[in-house]
Assembly symmetry: C2
């Protein structure tokens, strides 16, 4: 049966994104270091049409993050930095003309917008009626494959609170952001009902995987 | 040169102690599971006069936590559950008549009290003039060895904010407490000035070690 998988990378001090960008730190304070481990893998480089990259544990985890995924849900802040109405020449995502996903993407937003087809097979759909509706549409679009939720923190929290997450993968990077978007808050005492499937680390990142507990 | 080492175990959702004890959960919600990894090690069992226990990575890290430690600082909540003045028959610690430490212990408190000598060589000193004074006294008592800070969260935060921590070891246990004492808050955008010395995990706990960054 198709599953909802939440996969997210967090700093050791609990943030999935750094402090907001500033003139001094256009990428936000230290936030880019969160994803160095993924960028280094063969799986990530191959997704972006690049050769080489590391194999081994981190690459296995990067590959599992995309394996059998038929559709992906993300919050609007992961799609782009634009706030409010989309405007006349709307933002088309961080990923250029040919986003690397190749699957339907569902973007949670308060502002309706036509679906956006791009080269390479990735289509972005904009969902204004909440996380459950987005999940139902993504599940249908995935055609029997799994649905991934990528983040950010608020989107992850909404799916956890709604009890919709079947598998939870947290990649913890040993660095301190000192502020930003905290993953584990606004969860009403949760997450509950999960059991550890696996913990393993490279020298760069610790991967924890959880599944729904038996009877949970 | 003697160092100040902060060593603490944290849940994946960022807590070093669970929610307060209740009638339903005398040990606090799930908090005891944080230390199962340590209890299982040969080092911990040996400290408590028990045979056996696991060797391997977690045991190495448990051993490093106590190696070359000449004195330990802890917050009052780690010493006991009693609040306010100590009273006529004051609390003597969680550890019975023969605490396993064998080194001077410095307890941060707002309420003055005579030092408490116990069998087995452990003496508890009660420090009312703040974290820097406690460090100075512990350093002197350690006789050239290192000083350990054990917790809880507020004590750890005070030492981090004061810039006194030379080595930072965080053991992250893949469980969710859902609430309690959060380690990484009230740190004024820190910790800053550390670099990763080592990340490694068993299937039970991920160990991260940081040292002061060069020039930091």
């Amino acid at each position: 049966m198709a599953k909802l998988k939440l996969t997210i990378t967090m700093s050791l001090d609990g943030y999935v994104a750094g402090l907001p960008p500033s003139l001094e730190n256009p990428l936000g304070e230290g936030g880019s270091g969160l994803h160095d481990w993924a960028f280094a893998t063969r799986t990530f480089r191959s997704m972006h049409g690049l050769e080489g990259g590391e194999t081994g544990l981190d690459d296995e985890h990067a590959a599992r993050g995309t394996a059998n995924v038929g559709a992906t849900i993300m919050g609007r802040n992961m799609f782009g930095p634009v706030r409010g109405p989309w405007g006349e020449e709307p933002w088309r995502g961080w990923w250029g003309d040919e986003p690397p996903f190749g699957t339907p993407m569902f973007v949670l937003t308060h502002h309706a917008r036509e679906s956006l087809a791009t080269d390479g097979g990735t289509t972005f759909h904009f969902v204004t009626d909440g996380v459950e509706a987005a999940f139902e549409r993504a599940l249908e679009a995935a055609g029997g494959k799994d649905v991934a939720v990528g983040g950010g923190a608020k989107t992850a929290q909404q799916y956890l609170r709604a009890g919709l997450v079947d598998e939870l993968k947290i990649h913890v990077v040993p660095l301190f952001l000192g502020g930003g978007s905290r993953l584990f808050e606004n969860l009403d005492g949760g997450p509950t009902g999960y059991e550890l499937a696996r913990l393993a680390s490279s020298s760069a990142v610790a991967h924890s995987s959880f599944v729904r507990a038996a009877g949970g």
